[in-house]
């Protein structure tokens, strides 16, 4: 039933075989609220997919299902063609999926380097596996230098960083740890121009290196058109529009969104009649 609401879009043949991630008919309700009403989504290898939609369209819920934070009520998820189910964030991580959450998930009282390694701490060899703080500090400094993120010190506690620096640390943590899929839930919110540029460049570089396949949620269409290969629009818990970025324009996308929205209203009215 959700498929009939989709405008017919030509799907180009997959560049290199099996998609990195496929979501089929995923549903999720919180009490009486049906947040996801059957999500179908495909993420190709090395692709950057933009996800847009109004507040409450279900974008963040979808991301939290893919990251293992929520469990879906129905439908299935295929990772590299294989059916998977994530019982926890840890299990999604072990499949190579990392997420940058809207709230950043940083620990204010922990220093930058410990936030960067949260959940992936390096421990020294030996019977008692103590943290190797020196190694983590060194790697953190190196890594942040590599991706041009400036922080006062890797020993600074996260609560002392600016909003943009915090965001950069959260993105850096996910990028560093991700092996297959990177999920970015509004990675550019609260960022200054310089820092946004930094993250955009980082994501573009990751995409061209084909190391990761990426889903980005953002409200800024200029950013999305620059970053993404394809854009999916979510409305009312479904994906209603699926457009290749190089085949569309902001005007066309807006038009499609408006007409899709009208169609949904009519559907509801007809159902009521």
């Amino acid at each position: 039933m959700s498929a009939s609401a989709l405008p017919a879009q030509p799907t180009p043949p997959a560049a290199n075989g099996t998609p990195a991630l496929e979501v089929r008919g995923v549903t999720k309700s919180f009490g009486v609220l049906n947040v996801l009403r059957g999500i179908d989504l495909t993420l190709r290898q090395g692709e950057v997919l933009g996800l847009v939609g109004d507040n409450g369209a279900g974008k963040s819920t979808l991301v939290k299902i893919l990251s293992g934070f929520h469990q879906p009520d129905g439908g299935e998820i295929l990772l590299g063609g294989e059916r998977v189910s994530f019982s926890s964030v840890e299990s999604a991580r072990s499949h190579g999926i990392e997420t940058v959450y809207q709230d950043l998930a940083l620990i204010p009282q922990l220093p930058v380097y410990q936030n960067l390694f949260l959940g992936h701490e390096i421990t020294r060899l030996g019977p008692i596996r103590l943290l190797d703080k020196r190694e983590m500090r060194k790697l953190a400094r190196q890594y942040l230098d590599d991706i041009n993120v400036n922080v006062p010190s890797v020993d600074a506690e996260a609560e002392l960083l600016s909003g943009g620096q915090r965001q950069a640390i959260a993105v850096a943590r996910a990028v560093r740890a991700a092996r297959k899929i990177l999920l970015l839930d509004e990675p550019l919110a609260a960022m200054g121009a310089r820092e946004s540029r930094l993250i955009i460049d980082l994501v573009k570089e990751l995409a061209t290196s084909d190391r990761l396949s990426i889903i980005v949620i953002d409200h800024n269409y200029a950013h999305l058109f620059e970053l993404c290969d394809r854009i999916n629009v979510m409305q009312g818990g479904r994906i209603t529009i699926n457009q290749q970025v190089h085949e569309t324009s902001l005007e066309e996308l807006t038009e499609l969104m408006v007409s899709s929205y009208r169609r949904q209203i009519e559907e509801v009215q007809n159902a009521g009649a």
């Binding site: 926890s88 922990l110 949260l118 959940g119 596996r129 943290l131 703080k133």
Partner: protein, 325 residues
């Protein structure tokens, strides 16, 4: 130089209570002389500090999680009773001790599971367990004192180690303090504790198993209290069912606060909790020896707790202000 001293006090919260303890020590030494610095007096100071410290150092783990365990004091008292009953039922002493400690761990696990699974605030969960354990002791002891305690008052190494030696208890607490300090600051588990207490949702999103971390900390706190509880019973040689754990836990939370642990979560110092306990011990012993009515002791404890907490809050504000410049 001056700046460095100020910085040290701002960032090493244990320094302030250390200085206060030393000042108290000097004051009582001047006032009471060798009566205060004698073995008898110092061992009685450590006798006050031991139980408070044992409960406080475990409690810090929970305060860092932004949780609290009000039952740890009663666990401290319950554990030796458990050992005593099991031993009286004919079980070998080692088995009786193991069962007692497992029972303490079970109490911790129940505290933790009720808190994380049923979403009962830990303040309430552990308040309830505190009463239940107190009741169990009263019912099964028939409200009668127990003595002698096995191992107590013997000269064997095991007996000395388990509490008969006058310094055994405080040394147990020091050893546990060192271990818990390493656990909190140097292990993956410690990072998870700080993360869970610092940003609950964020920690969960980052893959920290927040519920499991909390349950283990409740178990740890009960285990430590139960272990030193047995040592304390061996030291004194008898058990009084009328002892109420709340007396102990309130001192212990006070010791944590004096040591520099706020109750806001995400931060805490195990060493500070021990120092807080020692401060209270020195204060009680010193006031007794200098002939001041022991009733004054409570006034002073209250004053110290308020000053310590106010300093903590003000230090945090100074740090925040200097950083935002």
């Amino acid at each position: 130089m001056g700046r460095r001293v100020v910085r040290a006090f701002l960032f090493q919260r244990e320094l302030t209570p250390i200085v206060i303890t030393v000042l108290l020590f000097v004051y009582f030494t001047i006032k009471a002389g060798s009566t205060f610095t004698g073995t008898l007096s110092l061992s009685s100071a450590s006798g006050y500090a031991g139980p408070i410290g044992a409960i406080a150092v475990g409690e810090v783990m929970l305060l860092v999680l932004a949780e609290i365990d009000l039952s740890a004091g009663q666990v401290f008292l319950f554990s030796p009773w458990m050992m005593y009953w099991m031993h009286n039922d004919g079980l070998p002493l080692v088995v009786a001790i193991v069962i007692a400690l497992l029972a303490c761990c079970a109490v911790g696990a129940i505290n933790g599971l009720i808190t994380v699974r049923l979403n009962v605030p830990s303040f309430v969960t552990t308040l309830a367990t505190n009463f239940i354990l107190y009741g169990i002791v009263l019912v099964y002891s028939n409200d009668a004192e127990a003595s002698p305690i096995p191992l107590s008052g013997q000269t064997s190494f095991i007996s000395q180690l388990m509490g008969s030696w006058r310094w055994a208890e405080i040394l147990w607490v020091v050893a546990i303090t060192i271990i818990l300090t390493i656990v909190l600051n140097r292990t993956r588990f410690g990072v998870r504790v700080i993360a869970t207490g610092g940003n609950l949702i964020g920690a969960a999103e980052a893959g920290v198993p927040i519920r499991r971390v909390k349950v283990w900390c409740f178990v740890l706190c009960s285990f430590v209290a139960g272990l030193v509880g047995i040592v304390d019973a061996v030291k004194y040689g008898s058990l009084d069912p009328g002892n109420f754990g709340v007396d102990y836990i309130l001192y212990a939370v006070g010791a944590c606060v004096i040591g520099g642990t706020a109750l806001t979560g995400g931060r805490g110092t195990v060493i500070g909790a021990l120092i807080g306990a020692v401060l209270i011990g020195v204060l009680e012993d010193g006031l007794t020896l200098t002939g001041v009515s022991t009733n004054q002791f409570f006034i002073w404890v209250g004053v110290v707790i308020i000053i310590a907490m106010a300093l903590n809050v003000q230090f945090d504000r100074i740090i925040a202000r200097s950083r935002s410049k």
